[in-house]
């Protein structure tokens, strides 16, 4: 069992559902990122994915797309993101993951990037445009360092496909709640329940559910079905509209 999965399983003994949040590094600024992370950790967030911005974020919806573009336009560099991540993992003692697109790793040098992330105490990676067929080397390198190459399930994935993905994964499985990109509402209906049952039967790994989770009602609905609720776009929207200080109360009200 990977270190990340062990940490998740330990937390799950005290909590029926864990919270994972997301932010885009450098958006609106690294200072605000730091404040937001502080608010999240103080209010009980269990894991955080830090997105290293990429100019072509095809899996992301308008809100996160804009955050990626503005971060780059303001001059955020990959090196700056990595240094910032190192400071954050020293200051806050929850698991942090990198979310980004494959080109960021590829251009940096795959092995160099993974080793650097290990040195920064990053626990795993979410790379939505790197299916296992294209990521053999990546999977081997990440697992060798006892980090988790998070695999993604989608409502369109067959059970056989899910099993294949899970064999390549570690830490937890990121279940995309619906078709489409990030930041749109999800209807948690009967189809969704069947999908989660399918996910559960395909793997013993903890299940995180993301895409369109915005409220306590959504988190309540997932409790007992999934292990981790992922809040992505909603906190970015909140910071845009009300500032970093609004994040703490929002997180505190989710569980």
């Amino acid at each position: 069992m990977s270190t990340l999965e062990e940490i998740i399983r330990t937390h799950l003994q005290d909590s029926r559902i864990l919270l994972m949040t997301h932010l885009v590094l450098g958006y609106p600024s690294f200072e605000v990122n730091r404040e937001v992370i502080g608010q999240m950790v103080q209010n009980g967030v269990d894991l955080i994915e830090m997105q290293i911005p990429f100019s072509e974020p095809v899996a992301d919806g308008p809100m996160i797309l804009k955050a990626n573009q503005e971060s780059i336009a303001k001059g955020a560099r990959v090196e700056e993101c990595l240094q910032f991540a190192g400071e954050i993992t020293k200051e806050f003692h929850i698991p942090f993951l990198f979310m980004t697109y494959y080109n960021i790793l590829y251009k940096y040098g795959l092995e160099e990037f993974i080793n650097r992330a290990y040195d920064l105490n990053i626990k795993g990676f979410i790379i939505p445009d790197l299916p296992p067929e294209e990521g053999r080397e990546y999977l081997d390198l990440v697992r060798k360092q006892d980090m988790a190459p998070i695999q993604i399930f989608a409502p369109t994935s067959t059970k056989e496909r899910m099993q294949r993905l899970a064999e390549n994964g570690a830490g937890f499985i990121y279940c995309v709640a619906r078709r489409g990109v990030t930041g749109k509402k999800t209807d948690f209906d009967q189809d969704f329940n069947e999908y989660i049952r399918r996910c559960r039967s395909a793997t013993p790994l903890p299940l995180a559910v993301g895409f369109g989770i915005r409220s306590k009602d959504d988190v309540d609905f997932l409790t007992g079905k999934a292990d981790i609720a992922v809040i992505g776009t909603e906190t970015i929207r909140l910071v845009d509209e009300k500032g970093a200080a609004a994040v703490g109360p929002f997180i505190a009200g989710l569980r």
Partner: protein, 409 residues
């Protein structure tokens, strides 16, 4: 072992999981039709009745005499329905969509030619159609937007990123991950995740098959060189495939040199030294990107060449030395265009004119007993606003001002 969808180091299918099944299905259908001679026959038949295939190979006698070297032949893809080689790929994919039973098509477009071609195909086959087009390209190619809408397509201007072709591709993918059950993405060029490079190259190979037969008939032997402009690379691969096995035929791809390779404002991936290996938009190729892997803004007077990446198939052929690459600047393009119009009464698209530039530079070094072919991927009359503006044509300006005044009333 070579992995499926790879050309040397290049290509692949870097797709989000949500599209895995969609691609599996697409691959299955494509593999089936590739083996099915009846499908290809149906395609050729369709192109000979709905479009103008085979397109002629025109001997450009006046241009040949002007340069005094090899004979210049022009493959007339401009005479396709909708005025460009884009129709080939689109009608082929349209037949495939019918087989797959999908009811809606989406496409990206740069110059607008691929969008117009997709809109015609959708109208003919009764599909719903949405076209994504960078806002900057909507401005550059407004007449094409008009025609797409008239044929029933919805045109969505893309306001993200550099607001050009790459951003239109991203938006089309975002649409597809939401609507893959009903929708096929008609990717317009030999880029993107497998099987698109192979599939689009297959449909476009009709250009090279015809051109090889035509030059042998007209000239009695193979050409010394074949020139084609390269944005994504679909027209180039289309004609090059006809001569790939003929080692004596040099294949020359011409990229957008924009304001010059040293200016940084260009879209030359393989002719210049600014590009590096990367993975974006679902495939691995040489991209114009910075040292972090962020894609750069590109520039070309020709919207259809204004793109960060290039076909993985062409990158492989470049690496192996089979295809040579050159770049033509915006101003060289305007000169070549003017010369071609004056000497031959032929109006190449700004994209296609890039191929003419390099051919004109080299043709006098070849003997009179040789021939070259330039692939004229599309016609230039669609570019009237851009071309008239680039020439600073005074009477056109007066006309536009007068027309605008009329609309104000």
């Amino acid at each position: 072992m070579i992995k499926k969808g790879y050309y040397g180091h290049w290509g692949g299918a870097f797709i989000p999981e949500i599209l895995y099944e969609t691609f599996r299905e697409l691959n299955t259908f494509f593999e089936d039709v590739k083996k099915d001679q009846a499908f290809w026959n149906e395609y050729v038949q369709l192109m000979s009745t709905y479009s103008c295939r085979p397109t002629p190979l025109t001997y450009a006698e006046n241009l040949s005499n002007r340069f005094g070297g090899a004979r210049i032949y022009i493959k007339r893809e401009d005479l396709n329905h909708t005025g460009a080689h884009k129709a080939n790929n689109v009608m082929g994919q349209g037949l495939l969509v019918k087989r797959m039973g999908k009811k809606r098509v989406i496409a990206e477009t740069g110059a607008g030619q691929h969008g117009v071609a997709t809109a015609t195909m959708a109208a003919k086959f009764g599909f719903d159609c949405t076209i994504y087009m960078g806002e900057e390209d909507v401005q550059r190619q407004r007449p094409n937007v008009f025609w797409m809408e008239k044929m029933g397509a919805t045109v969505i201007p893309v306001t993200d990123g550099s607001r050009t072709l790459k951003d239109a591709i991203n938006e089309a993918f975002r649409d597809w991950v939401s609507n893959m059950d009903s929708t096929h993405y008609v990717l317009g060029t030999v880029c993107g995740p497998h099987p698109f490079p192979e599939m689009v190259a297959w449909f476009q190979s009709i250009i090279g098959i015809e051109a090889r037969e035509q030059i042998l008939k007209a000239f009695g032997k193979l050409p010394a060189r074949v020139y084609a402009c390269v944005g994504g690379g679909s027209n180039a691969l289309g004609i090059f495939q006809g001569f790939m096995q003929d080692d004596q035929v040099a294949l020359v791809g011409v990229e957008a040199g924009g304001k010059g390779l040293a200016s940084g404002e260009h879209a030359a991936r393989l002719a210049g030294s600014d590009a590096s290996p990367g993975v974006a938009q679902g495939y691995k190729t040489m991209f114009l990107q910075n040292s972090d892997g962020q894609m750069l803004d590109t520039h070309s007077v020709a919207a259809g060449l204004d793109y960060i990446g290039v076909s993985p198939i062409l990158t492989d052929l470049w690496e192996k030395g089979r295809v040579r690459f050159a770049a033509a600047t915006d101003s060289e393009v305007m000169d070549a265009l003017e010369l071609t119009m004056k000497k031959e009464g032929i109006i190449p698209a700004l994209e296609s004119a890039h191929g003419f530039v390099q051919a004109f530079k080299e043709v006098q070094n070849l003997g009179k007993d040789e021939a070259i072919i330039i692939n004229m991927s599309g016609r230039g009359d669609k570019d009237i606003f851009t071309i008239a503006n680039a020439y600073g044509d005074p009477s056109w300006k007066e006309f536009i001002i007068a027309r605008a005044e009329q609309y104000k009333k």
